[in-house]
Structure formats: structure tokens, C-alpha cells
């Protein structure tokens, strides 16, 4: 599957980047594509483009604060995942989303 994700947390230094690493690693292991935008203390990094959004199947929001430029994502299915869950079991998160996604088709 083609995942995109946004990670953001109150301090914008620790959890945001742990979520990014967790999703990237899990996607690689499961053979999915994954691009994670971080909205952290250093601003928007690895920013999701209109092209990224168009090509993606689903957007994962793993955020504990509000999303910047949310209007970019109005047309894509979204799943909210708490950061603790993303960090603890990223593979299970991706697999569950995939199952739901396939069941809907």
C-alpha cells in the first residue's frame, strides 16, 4: 500500500521523530511505501506534496497537536493513530489499516 503520514507532538522533538522512524521501518519490513511528514520544532520536514497525496491510499495522522495546512488532505481517507500506539506497534497499525482498506474495496 501507499501510505502517507503526519507526526506532530507538543515539544516537537522526541515523539514526532520516533513515530516517523517507527512507521518508516514498519513499512519497509512489510513492503509498503511510506512518506512521513514531521511537524516538529524544526518546522515542516519531508513535506507531503499534492503529488504525494494524490498517489497515496491513506493518510495516517499521529498527532497530539493540530495539523498545519490540513486543507491539503481533504480528499484522502484518514486514520488517527495515537503516538504511543504508533511507537509501540507500528507493524500492527499498518496491517490493521491494510485489512480495513481491503475489506472496503
Amino acid at each position: 500500500m501507499n501510505f502517507i503520514a503526519i507526526a506532530a507532538c507538543p515539544t516537537g522533538v522526541a515523539h514526532t521523530f520516533m513515530v516517523k522512524a517507527a512507521f518508516e521501518k514498519a513499512a519497509q519490513q512489510l513492503g509498503h511505501s511510506m512518506k512521513v511528514e514531521t511537524q516538529g520544532a524544526t518546522g515542516l520536514e519531508n513535506k507531503l506534496t499534492a503529488e504525494d497525496v494524490k498517489n497515496a491510499d491513506v493518510l495516517i495522522l499521529s498527532v497530539e497537536v493540530s495539523v498545519i495546512e490540513e486543507e491539503r488532505f481533504k480528499d484522502i481517507p484518514k486514520v488517527n493513530i495515537p503516538q504511543k500506539t504508533a511507537i509501540k506497534s507500528p507493524k500492527r497499525v499498518l496491517t490493521q489499516i491494510e485489512e480495513k482498506f481491503n475489506a472496503r474495496k
Partner: protein, 154 residues
């Protein structure tokens, strides 16, 4: 000042509570002039915990705060000999990976944030965590942290 400093790697502590751990770290940060006030540091870290616990998994917590009380950013690794309660809903903790983050609004002064975020990212790396969790040689741990600080992923 370096974010990674050997004197902030503790491998053999006998502390009895979350408070004792955070105050010990605070006192040492103060001694090295990396923070202004120990009490403010302690309160700032706790208020971040109240917002959302920084307990992760497997006895590991990653407390952090980013305030004006912090004069220079520091990463602290503390392994305690016994587990202490972290937050009520969490499992007890014996490994603390603390990020003390200097507040800055200047765009040209953000390199420390990149180093700290790289360190956080590496907490998801199995090889890195193996070193942080089990290695008993401070020098080896220091080198692993330094490698991340220098921009190399482990």
C-alpha cells in the same frame, strides 16, 4: 557545548523514585551550567509528563522539556538498578533517556534540535537500543551517541 557528554551517561544508579531520578539529573545539569534552576527543570519535565506520559515500552521513558530555563541542550541516559514507578498508568521504569532542550526562536540556531530529533529517531533502532540497554562500557555508549550527534544513523 556538546549535547552528548560522557558525564551524563549513568549506568549504575540506585535511585528510589521518578523524583529522585529527575532531581539527580537536574542537579548535575545545574552543576555544569546547562540549566538555570533545578526546581524549574523538575517542574517543567513533570508538566510535560502530565500532558502525555513519555513512558514508551520495556521500562523505558523519554522525559523531555524545552524551556527558557535550559541554557544548553543535553541528552542524558540513566540506567537505574531497580524499576521505579513512572506514571500511574505505566509500567515501572529503569531506563531514562532524557532530552533537555534549549528554547530558541532563531532559525539559525536549530542544529541542536536536529541532533536531538536524530537521537529520538534512533530509539526505534534495534541495534542502537541494544547498546543503550545492555552495554556496560560508557565509552562504547558515548561513541554510539556521538555517531548519531555527528549525523550518522546507526
Amino acid at each position: 557545548m556538546n549535547i552528548v557528554d560522557e558525564s551524563f551517561i549513568y549506568l549504575n544508579e540506585d535511585l528510589n523514585s521518578r523524583e529522585a531520578i529527575l532531581k539527580k539529573i537536574g542537579k548535575d545539569l545545574k552543576k555544569k551550567n546547562r540549566i538555570e534552576s533545578v526546581e524549574t527543570f523538575y517542574q517543567d519535565v513533570l508538566s510535560r509528563e502530565d500532558e502525555m506520559t513519555t513512558y514508551m515500552d520495556n521500562g523505558i521513558a523519554i522525559p523531555h522539556c524545552k524551556t527558557d530555563n535550559i541554557l544548553d541542550s543535553t541528552v542524558v541516559l540513566l540506567r537505574n538498578n531497580k524499576k521505579v514507578d513512572w506514571n500511574d498508568e505505566d509500567e515501572p521504569t529503569d531506563l531514562v533517556f532524557l532530552l533537555s532542550i534549549k528554547n530558541t526562536n532563531q532559525k539559525d540556531d536549530q542544529s541542536h534540535l536536529q541532533v536531538l530529533s536524530r537521537l529520538a529517531q534512533n530509539l526505534m533502532d534495534d541495534d542502537f537500543m541494544e547498546i543503550i540497554r545492555h552495554e556496560n562500557d560508557i565509552e562504547t555508549i558515548y561513541k554510539a551517541l556521538k555517531k548519531v550527534e555527528g549525523g550518522e544513523a546507526s
